[in-house]
């Protein structure tokens, strides 16, 4: 039985509160057998790839989410400081007692450890990005001929974060594009065509050839583990999507970002006219200047 995914998507959307409340980001990836109808409140990403690896995307926090996050963090800091002062009082008592021990007891008893005061500068808190990752599963192919995956997400600005497989035990395998990537805007009610995600090193290994593309070679030759082929007019489009509103992703450079998953560090291969590098400095080719680190 074919169930319009929009029903599921709507149900999930209702169950997901505002993004700033640390719930996982909404995403719903379509199977090849799923009928597609466009929910005007959701955005749709069409991504092609000849390789079935999971791609991690990160939605960039909106200014209102940053503001809400800062409020949440400030409240958590107040709580942490209250706990700290209780711990400090206990420490003072324990330290006083320890100081009164004789030498034999001191040698036997561990010296109490003074707690560290949480401050604005040193307070550890969840990353604002923690609820903004979505995964495009490489193995869930929407259209085999087009090597296409289709996923519904919340509208916004998305960054290609890396190729990461997450195990059910909390482990992560793969690589992040932590030292340079691209981002693009995703509008609601339409399909954004991301073009193709390619893995030049992986594909060359599989095809038993030396990796090269656009004059780049591996290592310091500039070719990295992932590159993007922006959508072209000749790209195959799944027949079931042909009549739906669709537009090409407009890529722009994205700066360095943290290695949240503790994986291999990479960067996206330079994309002519969009992304280049000056040593490790990420250059926005459209603006002709370096990009700040995220």
């Amino acid at each position: 039985m074919r169930i319009p995914m929009i029903i599921t998507a709507a149900a999930v959307a209702l169950a997901v509160p505002a993004a700033a409340t640390a719930k996982p980001a909404f995403s719903q990836q379509f199977k090849s057998t799923t009928a597609v109808s466009i929910d005007p409140t959701k955005a749709y990403l069409l991504m092609r790839s000849p390789v079935s690896l999971d791609v991690k995307l990160l939605r960039v926090a909106r200014p209102d989410e940053v503001a809400a996050y800062q409020v949440e963090r400030a409240a958590a800091l107040v709580t942490a400081r209250a706990k700290y002062f209780k711990k400090l009082a206990s420490y003072n008592q324990e330290a006083k007692a320890w100081n009164n021990y004789d030498a034999a007891d001191r040698a036997r008893m561990p010296k109490p450890e003074r707690p560290i005061e949480p401050t604005e500068d040193n307070f550890g808190f969840k990353a604002i990005e923690s609820d903004k990752f979505v995964t495009v599963w490489g193995g869930r192919v929407f259209d085999k001929a087009a090597e296409a995956r289709l996923i519904a997400v919340d509208p916004g600005t998305y960054r290609i974060y890396g190729q990461i497989f997450e195990g059910t035990n909390g482990s992560s395998i793969g690589f992040c594009l932590c030292m340079g990537s691209v981002q693009f805007d995703v509008a609601p009610g339409r399909i954004t065509d991301m073009g193709s995600i390619r893995y030049p090193l992986n594909e060359a290994l599989k095809n038993k050839v030396e990796p090269s593309w656009n004059g780049l070679t591996k290592g310091n030759g500039g070719l990295t583990a992932m590159r993007i082929e922006p959508p072209a007019a000749a790209d195959p489009v799944p027949a079931s999507l042909a009549a739906l509103p669709r537009e090409a992703a407009v890529y722009r450079a994205a700066g360095k970002i943290d290695n949240f998953f503790g994986v291999i560090i990479q960067r996206l291969t330079a994309l002519p006219g969009v992304l280049s590098y000056r040593r490790d400095e990420v250059i926005d080719e459209r603006a002709g200047k370096a990009v700040a680190s995220d």
Binding site: V51, S52, L53, V66, Y69, Q70, R73, A80, I116, P118, E120, D121, N122, F123, G124, F125, K126, A127, I128, S130, F133, G138, G139, Q163, F165, T168, N169, G170, S171, S172, I173, G174, F175, C178, M179, N202, L205, K206, G219, N220, A225, G255, K256, I257, D258, N259, F260, F261, G262, V263, I264, I265, Q266, R267, Y277, R279, D280, A292, S293, D294
Partner: protein, 194 residues
């Protein structure tokens, strides 16, 4: 791609397990400048006669060099790469969000138990290998060259990091010596591939 191929690719990419971030952990700002007088940092010994077996160890035992670079720049570069591979807060979100330490994703979402399981599966050797790979990649992007060292000399100013963690004061001393080596001039040895 078959499942077998996929597994091989994933394995080839090397493994990484997020270290668990402790709740409310307190740490220094990752990349806030640390002022260090280079005159106070000892220059590690870098000259050695290559012995049998040394060359095979250059995948593990190496250091970075870049011409026309000062100590402060090299130290900051090495700290950035060290921080990135550890998976701790490295960048400041363009300065808009004041959270210096957020730990890894698994830590942020409470994955400490999962990480422990992952460690049991992948082990310390893979973590150490990933650190070496990441430092090579990161410093390579920054334009540094890589040169081999004997294990004896390497261990005097480097450390490996597997399941355990090196204390920050000790870490910074090592990183400072690595920065000193990075700006000490062109080595006599052969430049290695990244």
């Amino acid at each position: 791609m078959t499942i077998r191929n996929r597994a091989a690719v994933l394995a080839a990419l090397a493994m990484a397990m997020p270290a668990a971030a402790e709740a409310q952990k307190v740490a220094d700002r990752s990349l806030a400048p640390i002022a260090v007088d280079p005159a106070t940092v000892p220059l590690p010994a870098l000259v050695f006669t290559e012995a049998a077996g040394d060359k095979e160890g250059y995948d593990k035992y190496f250091y970075f060099v870049r011409a026309d670079t000062d100590f402060a720049t090299a130290y900051q570069d090495i700290r950035e790469c060290d921080s990135l591979t550890r998976g701790i807060r490295t960048y400041m979100n363009g300065g808009t969000v004041p959270y210096p330490y957020a730990g890894t994703m698994a830590g942020a979402i409470g994955g400490a138990i999962g990480s422990a399981l992952a460690d049991a599966i992948f082990g310390s050797a893979q973590r150490r290998a990933m650190r070496r790979t990441n430092l090579r990649t990161c410093m390579g992007y920054k334009g540094y060259s890589r040169y081999g060292l004997s294990k004896d000399l390497w261990t005097k100013f480097n450390f490996e990091e597997g399941l355990g963690s090196v204390a920050d004061d000790e870490r910074q001393k090592f990183l400072q010596m690595q920065a000193k080596a990075a700006v000490a001039g062109k080595p006599q040895g052969e430049e290695l591939e990244f």
